[in-house]
Point group: C2
Chain length 453, copies 2
């Protein structure tokens, strides 16, 4: 007896119930993307390792799944490397391809490779799996979907505004209450510049982040302990004590950053975004949050993060502006801005809040009970008629026991069954049973279509 | 300057235009699958090599893409194996996972692994990419999608009939004229049995296949040259001279197979399928074709193949019944039947016959021309209103030259543009221009919604 089969750790099978829920999420997100004029693309699961390596840091290189070259791949590997069992060096000789690690680098590669066929600004969305050889743990998988939406080739802040609108629309449709936090990399750069500590930005944002939890005095102490001089900590005080609404906070920041050109540019950008958003009356609160520091080496302008208000879970959407995505592939000066929706976390939020629409699980509306070959043959044209009218239906493929057939209909959550026996065939009628109420009706085929449609 | 980036050979990027067409195909196929009560599943891209190896023959094992283990994978490999540069043996030590080669083996693994959660008969569809390290050539890729639909856990021939109905419905919706060829493995087994040549089945079907091209005499000569005794060739004559409609042919076959139990069972099965199909009046002709021998070692009952009538191209859909799919994973006695749609070939057929619906390429209905920041801000709530009504629209993100904005709208095949300048803002009206006719209308926001909806 063979061993019970299994799948690689960190990967998942999705059965029908999960698929219906996942498709509900993907379809909702995609339908919003489309309303904003974003177009789908897909890239191959495998990329050349030369495309992927060095793009995600040293740690990232290790997390790439690498694909063994085909054929007699060891033939041309230097014997000494093999004798040394130097896994890292041997890898470069026996693996040329890897599985994509995210959708951003393949997108950059796509834009550069197809630059002459594309219309700029190029607005694309991409919903595909990515793979990472991370240690699997709760909520972290080795294969998971990303849902990315990006605009490249436009500096306009209108793109930032539209991405925020997209976040608002997606979560409104899904029924999830969220807050969108926004920051700007240029403001962080300005703060570092003004206090003369450009390499302490991370320490500063980490400290600010603890403000509510540990209080101002402790934060100041922590900053000193991280090596910030007293003068820098003093200069930071207005930043730590920011209060009021977004625009009031921006005013206070602007005063601190008065001498920093880049810092004031950041303030100006955020002001414009808030100004343009204001008349749109979004349901989603948009909050300035200086502690947002994701992708710090990567983003050059806006930084976004979205949190669910009613579930304790990390960021469910995030992104920002990057000024030179395609530079690594030899096409400099193309600015982009994008966000990524985390499907797995959104799934968990919907599950916890019980927000999936009930209809999502009903793919088949009615089961025709199979009473025997004659009845089956009598029913088949009626079933074909229902399907032609767009009504999903099934007939149990064998004349199995009634109980078995009914429990099949129940397990599949079908709202109706149709029964046709000798009497029905004689009268040219079908008996429709409502599985919830138990109510039965005797109907002609045409009437059945009308009732089920 | 970095090298122009590229993708692994045999793989493809899909840009927006291709995606729209591909999604049209996938959506059409899936919508039919759903009407018949099939449910979606997805399995991981990677499977354990123990699941995949040995399932596709020796050649298939070589065509599997294998994934290098993570970390210091060479550490525990026997030094002698490395010194010998024995690629095949070393592979088993350094790669535990591979990319799936088809959807059938992962499906079998899925059924066995989740047997206790599934409702049988289990009707599933699966639309996912597969990977093969084949030599790339025109129309053959290393990454391509399969669209599989299968029922497991039911012996009923109703399943065969419903799969034929699905083929009919899919191609009717796509507008492709096709013929469905059907054979039965049991008939081939019966022929081999009756003439006492069980190992010559392939030679026989190849010879029958040449009948039209080279004539009966040459076919008989070829059979003799393949080592069939004269007596066997004599017995085959009625099979070679089959004439009439499907049922008449089956009668003639039944006479030849009078002494073969399995052969007569095959005849009986096909008779039932034809009998049940008849009253449904399908548009697609269904033809008995004894030369159909695909998956001969695999299929145990019906064998299907679908050919386009108006384009010279290979089979665009195929499948059959297999009596022991899950046996390899320790769950014997579960019969299944399924078919697989070849998305790439269907794509080519639609392209050649120019059958894509025109609407498929229009994702955005209208572009708002950007005349400047004031106009842009004025337009933004109107745009939000259109999107809330489900109308896909965009505003050009910068106040670029009119010509540039119009050429963007043209290249994206947008049917309308909206122009709002000073005059429009004063009057609270928007100018809608039909890009095809050139016609212009002055409309309020509400009127605009009504016209575009």
């Amino acid at each position: 007896m063979p061993q019970q089969p299994s799948i690689p750790k960190g990967t998942r099978d999705f059965g029908p119930l999960e698929m219906v829920k996942r498709n509900y999420i993907f379809d909702t997100i995609k339908s919003v993307f489309k309303l904003y004029g974003f177009q789908p693309i897909e890239t191959p699961a495998t990329e050349n390792l030369s495309t992927l390596m060095g793009k995600y840091g040293e740690e990232g290189d290790k997390l790439l799944f690498k694909i063994l070259n085909s054929g007699d791949y060891l033939q041309h590997v230097d014997g000494q490397l093999l004798a040394d069992k130097d896994s890292v060096k041997v890898t470069t000789k026996i693996a040329e391809k890897g599985l994509r690690y995210d959708l951003t680098v393949p997108f950059a590669r796509f834009v550069v490779q197809h630059r002459n066929e594309l219309q700029f600004p190029f607005k694309r969305y991409q919903v595909q799996p990515v793979w990472r050889a991370d240690k699997p743990q709760k909520g972290r998988y080795r294969e998971f979907y990303q849902c990315d939406v990006d605009v490249v080739g436009s500096d306009s802040l209108l793109n930032e505004v539209e991405l925020i609108q997209i976040v608002n629309d997606v979560y409104k449709r899904l029924g999830i209450r969220v807050v969108l936090k926004i920051n700007n990399r240029k403001i962080l750069a300005g703060i570092a510049q003004v206090i003369g500590q450009p390499d302490k930005i991370t320490d500063i944002t980490v400290a600010i982040d603890k403000l509510e939890k540990i209080g101002l005095d402790n934060v100041n102490e922590e900053l000193l302990s991280k090596g910030l001089p007293q003068s820098a900590v003093d200069q930071l005080q207005p930043i730590l004590k920011l209060s009021g609404n977004n625009n009031e906070k921006l005013e206070q920041i602007a005063q601190v950053l008065a001498t920093s050109e880049v810092g004031l540019k950041g303030v100006e950008e955020l002001k414009t975004v808030f100004d343009w958003l204001e008349p749109l009356g979004l349901q989603t609160p948009v909050e300035l949050d200086l502690t947002l520091a994701r992708g710090l080496n990567y983003y050059t302008g806006a930084i976004f993060e979205v949190k669910a208000l009613d579930v304790q879970i990390g960021s469910i959407t995030g992104g920002g502006r990057y000024d030179d995505l395609t530079g690594i592939f030899g096409m400099p000066g193309v600015s982009g801005v994008g966000i990524s929706f985390g499907a797995d976390r959104i799934y968990d939020v919907l599950e916890q809040l019980d927000l999936y629409p009930k209809s999502a699980s009903q793919s088949t509306k009615v089961l025709f009970v199979n009473f025997g070959l004659t009845e089956q043959k009598w029913c088949m044209p009626v079933i074909a008629k229902l399907r032609a009218e767009g009504i999903g239906c099934e007939i149990y493929p064998e004349p199995a026991k009634m109980k078995k057939q009914m429990s099949y209909a129940n397990a599949r959550q079908m709202p109706f069954v149709v029964m046709v026996g000798e009497e029905e065939m004689q009268q040219g009628k079908l008996t429709l049973k409502n599985m919830e109420t138990g109510e039965q009706q005797s109907l002609s085929a045409d009437e059945l279509v009308a009732v089920l449609k």
